[in-house]
């Protein structure tokens, strides 16, 4: 379990970094979080969505509608914590005007199934209100059904350890090539693409 988290996290960190690099200076936001089996008692859906809103706030400031909702909650309920519908509502109001929003949820399978269902359904509601939104999820394959049930277009990339090990090994070997002059970028790219494919088919 821990190993899974580690490697998948590495991949999605990379994805988040790459999206952030691309997003710099544009009206694009990248938010992300990790589901962690060990802290699942803190990871209610409401808390998780709220954590992403905090990331958005540190990028664009606290929106006026959020301040207003907070003041109302304080007056009426003495500052009671948000419930899920209120959180989803704030989220939608915050993100609907963004031209691109990337939401990255790592190790989704680590969140308990009840929370997971809530989270996926909340994400759907948010994404439907924000046409520029894209959702990136990682997890073990068994949660595929739950994802497909909620979203109209699901693309998939299998993270095969074998495939990745092969690539890592190839890169190491190519870097140590005794005759680097015989290599060019195109050939290297071909090797990196074709060899793992062929090995996976074996």
């Amino acid at each position: 379990m821990a190993q899974m988290l580690l490697t998948i996290s590495n991949d999605s960190s990379l994805v988040i970094d790459s999206l952030c690099d691309q997003a710099e200076g544009k009206d694009v936001a990248v938010v992300g979080l990790y589901c962690d089996f060990h802290t699942q008692h803190e990871q209610s859906t409401t808390n998780m969505l709220g954590a992403m809103l905090k990331q958005l706030a540190s990028r664009g400031g606290i929106p006026n509608h959020t301040r207003k909702a907070f003041r109302e909650a304080k007056e009426k309920f003495g500052g009671r914590g948000l419930l899920l519908p209120g959180m989803v509502d704030i989220f939608k109001k915050t993100t609907t005007s963004l031209s691109r929003l990337f939401i990255c949820i790592d190790a989704l399978d680590e969140s308990p199934s009840k929370h997971r269902r809530e989270l996926i359904e909340s994400l759907r509601e948010i994404v439907q209100a924000s046409p520029g939104a894209r959702v990136f999820l990682t997890g073990r394959p068994h949660i595929d059904d739950e994802i497909v049930r909620c979203f109209s277009k699901v693309l998939r990339i299998p993270l095969s350890p074998t495939h990745r090990d092969i690539r890592s090994y190839l890169e190491m070997r190519l870097d140590r090539d005794a005759d680097p002059n015989a290599m060019d970028d195109e050939l290297r790219a071909d090797i990196m693409r074709i060899v793992p494919e062929k090995v996976s088919e074996m």
Partner: protein, 101 residues
């Protein structure tokens, strides 16, 4: 909008660029009292801290291939539409620790 608020929004593009952790600290430091209460009200979780840790440990060449796949690009660059664009990267546990060392 407070001066601190403006300063923070000017600096920050994302939560996890190299300087962004400091930016978040600055953002919170410069925030008014109500702003701090609002962040706490939104969530007790601080996911950007975890990301910093994972990023520092990462071997750069691992996983780059994901970004080069046509599927990833299709998802990232798709025109806005009524379709909910989701990319699911799935894998099973069982990768040796040596792999990320």
């Amino acid at each position: 909008m407070s001066a601190g608020h403006q300063q923070a929004t000017g600096n920050i593009n994302s939560f996890n660029n190299n300087n962004s952790f400091n930016n978040i600290v600055n953002f919170i430091t410069n925030l008014d009292d109500e702003g701090r209460q609002i962040l706490q009200w939104l969530s007790p979780l601080e996911p950007q801290q975890r990301h910093q840790g994972v990023r520092a440990d990462r071997l750069d060449s691992v996983g780059n291939w994901v970004l080069e796949t046509s599927v990833f690009r299709e998802w990232r660059d798709a025109e806005n539409s009524n379709l909910e664009q989701v990319l699911f990267c799935h894998g099973n546990p069982g990768v040796g620790k040596t792999y990320v060392r």
